[in-house]
Every structure is written in C-alpha cells, then in structure tokens.
Amino acid sequence: MRNGHADEIGKLVEPGRVHRRVYTDPDLFELEMERIFGRAWLFVGHASQVPQPGDYITTELGRQPVIMVRHRDGSIQVLLNRCTHRGAKVVNERKGHAQRLTCCYHGWSFDTDGKLATVPVPEGCGEGFDKDALGLARAPRVGEYRGFVFASLAAKGPSFEDHIGPMKGNIDDLVDRAPDGELALDAGMHRYVYNGNWKLQVENVLDSYHVPFGHASTVNKQGVQFARREGDQKGATVVEAEKKQTAASWKDRKSFIAGNGHGWTSNTTLDDGKRSSPAFDDYKRVLAEKVGADRAAEILTPRLHNSLIYPNMSIMGLNIHVRVIKPLAVDRTEVNIYPIRLVGAPAAMNFGNIRLLNVTHSAASFVQTDDLESFVRAQKGLQSHLTDWVDISRGLGAEEPDRSINATRGLATHEMVVRAQYKAWVGYMSEAA
C-alpha cells in the first residue's frame, strides 16, 4: 500500500461499504498525511485570533507545525513552524505576540512574513550564504472567507473558490448571526483526544442516525433532550417515548452534499416560537436594529445543524462553534472546538453560548463524551479480521437533486454524506503527489 496505486486505493471503497483498513492501516495513514493533509485546503484559524500585527497562533496542518501570524502590512501569513537552520520548532506558545519569531536553539530570527532577519555570529556564514533563501517556508496557497483562513500545502490543485464555494452559504449562516457581521474566536477552546482514527470524528459530525442511541443518556423519559440553546426551555424530541423509537420529526431531517466531501444537515426541530430569555430577547432586538426585523427573523430561523468543510473542520449552527480535526496517528486524534462570540451581540447572549457549549462539547460534556466512547469502541472493533467491511449503505440510491441550492439531498439518518466523504477521499488518495 505504500505506493498507493490508484487501483489499490479504489478497492478499499465500494458503493455502500469501505474496507476497515482505511481506519486501521498505518501505511494508509501516512499516505493520507501526504495526499490529503499535504495538499487539500485545510482550515487553519480565524482572522479574529490574530487581530494586530505580530499576533500569532500555532497549530498543525496534518502533522506539520505551522504559525498563523498577522504581518505589518495586515496580511495573514501561514508559515511552517520549523527553523530553516537545524529544524527546531521556532514558536512554542499556542498563541502570543512578537515582532520577530526567534528560534530557541541558535537564535535565528524571522520577520512576521517569514523572512530571515538576523543570524547570530554572521561572520561564520560562508560566502554562498543566501539569507533570502532561508526564510521560514510558507504555505504555498492561503485563502480567506469572512475571517475563516484556509491553506493548502501544495502549490497546485483546485482553487480556494472551487473548494469553498459550495460552503460559503453555510459560513454566511453563522457569520450573519452577529449583529456586526463578524465573529470572534476569542473565547478559549475545548480540546479532546481519543484513541481512534480521524475519520470517525469527521463522519460523526453529520450523523443523525446515532443520536437516539449514542446519546440515549441525554434524553429524558419523555424522549426529549436537555435544553442546549440560550432561551430554550427544553431540547429536541429525538425519541417517541411510547413507541420507544426514533421520533418522526427526527427521522424527517435532511442531509445535503455539494461536492468535495462537504456536507451539512438541516436544522434540529426546536420550539423556536417559544425561544425566549432576557439575553436572547435583547440579542434579537439588537440584531433587528442592525439588519431590519425581516432579515433578523430570517437569520434567526434555524436552517443548519452541522456543516462539514472536508477534510478538517465543521461548524455548528445549534450550539454554535467551529471544530477542527487533527489526525495524530492512525488510531489517535485531537479535536479543538472554539466557542464563538457574535460581535455586536449583547454580552449576556455570548455568555449563554459559551456556557452551554461546555455542556455539549467540552471533554467533560454530556454529549461529546458518549461520541468519544463510540469512536474508541469502533477503533477496537475494527481490529476484527473476519469482518473486513464497514457498512455505509443506508439510503444508497435514495439521493435526489435539490436544484434550488445546487446540492444533493437525502435523509439525515441515511449515510449519503459518508459516501460523499469517501468519494472525495478516493479522489485525493488516488492521485500521486
């Protein structure tokens, strides 16, 4: 598999099933780091994390350490966090501010656009020493949409517009909720890890089938989940308690795909007419003052639950957040979840969003922890050699075009979205770099 010939890759994915090796084979993981995380458009961070020149965050693209930094000219630079001298990681803090990025080892110092600025004991440099050629490596392509910064580590490939185009409406849906039309990812982050493959998390964000079972412990005897949005008196009805089966309103929810592995699920039915609290009512009033009552009503009518921007990030419309998936090894994954501050919204509304996200998505939350258990058990179960195939066939053939939004529609309890992810996966993986 090391060579990753297209025909070998193709054999791992069939119309309604995938081979368990896509989750368990370390050689395939290496190939994913090269062919998917080494070239796809990946979410890096948000412009609000680096508001001033010199502000930076550090993160990883695949396994490669990077710095996202605001340069003096206002541009956002995505630099490889690796000294061009002897290879040490240059910036070790997760976030901070610096005029120069200085390596701890021999003191090489780089400007915030990556240029090598100073080298200690310069008289030791040979005649051919070319400072201009020794700047920090830069992500060859960087794109930004409404503050969301993406980068590709490959010089060539589909354009940022081709990649992100189908998902712009999903980003707008979130950003437009801010009365000032911008988001701030400045309210900390949740970090969790699990002993499982990264795709288990990616597949889960659009999986509505698992909710009544995987999250049974969050559903009360009446089949209703706890309230998880500011202003809600109760959560979604996911189970019809008397029949002990998935609720009709839950089964009716839709999912959508629009190419490139991306997808989303429709909103979770909640009692929006009754949504009210001092914080929410105040927010609604402020939003209406900014954008008009009709537009505010439109913005506040929920349309989306989760949106996946393949391969490494999702945004949620219910408990608003941005999620970043970071593969560490074939059976180990870290996930970062950023609460979102809606700029211009009353503080109490943002407080409510931040507070309720702890309950749904922290490492100690009511919801995410049962998902993590499912991922860990999937990774353990997939060690079985006697059952090689993973079934993703629900709703196969039942997909239908939704021409109004140029997407393909299916039921949210089906597995169309997973099949779309594997279509993109085969596309990336079949092509040698």
Binding site: R191, S362, E373
Partner: protein, 169 residues
C-alpha cells in the same frame, strides 16, 4: 493566603472542620453518591473547572465544567442513566485532599474560602489516569455543617487535551 490560627480563632472557626468537610465531599465522589454530592451545594452553588490557568470568568471563555444546580442535576441524572456509554464500565476514583488552608473567613456572613490540593486517580476500561491540581471551595455555614457556594478546580493540565471525562473531579 492562609489565615493564621489566631485569626481563625477570632472568627470562631476550626480548620479541621473544613478539612473534614472536604474529605467527606471527596468520599461521596469516590463512592459515586452523586446525588448526595450535589446536595452539598447551595441552591445558588456552582461547580467550575476552568480550561486555562488563572481563568477570570466562566462566561467569557470555555470551561471543562461550569454547572449551576440545574445543569448539575442533568449531569447527575445522566450519570445514573443505564445507557451512559462512557460509563460502561463505570469509572472508579480515589481522591486525596490535603494542604487545606482557610484563605478567607467572614464570620458575620458565615462565608469561608478554603484552599486545598488534590490528586484523583481514575480507573476505567483497562486505563488508569491521574488528575491533580488546586481547588478552592467557597463555603457557607449551614447549621453545623456547610453548603458549597462554589467549588473551583484548577487542574495543572487544564489547557491540555483530555480523553472523555465523565465524573466530576
């Protein structure tokens, strides 16, 4: 800053009484008596585990836990649910609480702030892990015992990445 013995005497309180209370609280958690543990909290009580060192507010930044009594009740009901997968099998924990100091005493209001250091070892599903840090209890006198107004737990690795955490620390 710890109050000196004579300051405690002046406030009419005994450090050992607070230590006994913290040991009792830890024992309720270790015995998985989550409802009894919740009953130690005042009606306006909160349980807070920050996600960054020196976190100033539970409202402006993400926290690992920030439960008021209502959320605590939902959490405890979930812990009692037969299909809580992340507790199948359940965690077993052992707490050690030490270095107990009374940091503030307001005898007139009957409110006290008690600092301590803790270690919690958790075993579940073939894996054992360690939690450690400082905790601060704001306590309110309640008859001959106390109610917790706030329990704040500052883990030394609070900003690290955690595997799923199901039980309170």
């Amino acid at each position: 800053m710890a109050l000196a013995a004579r300051e405690l005497a002046a406030a009419g309180v005994d450090r050992a009484a607070f230590e006994d209370f913290l040991i009792h609280e830890a024992r309720l958690l270790d015995e998985r008596r989550f409802r009894d543990w919740m009953a130690l909290f005042a009606d306006d009580g909160t349980y807070w585990v920050p996600a960054v060192p020196d976190q100033k507010s539970p409202f402006e930044e993400a926290s690992l836990f920030y439960d008021d009594r209502e959320l605590m009740k939902t959490r405890v009901e979930r812990l009692e649910h037969p299909r809580i997968h992340v507790q199948t099998p359940p965690s077993r924990t052992a707490h050690i609480v030490g270095n107990v100091v009374v940091e503030e005493a307001d005898a007139a209001k009957g409110e006290y702030v008690v600092g301590s250091t803790f270690i919690m070892v958790e075993y579940r599903d073939d894996a054992q892990r360690l939690f450690a840090g400082r905790q601060r209890h704001r306590l309110r006198r309640h008859g001959d015992t106390f109610r917790i107004v706030q329990k704040r737990v500052d883990l030394i690795n609070c900003d690290g990445a955690f595997e799923a955490m199901a039980v309170p620390i």
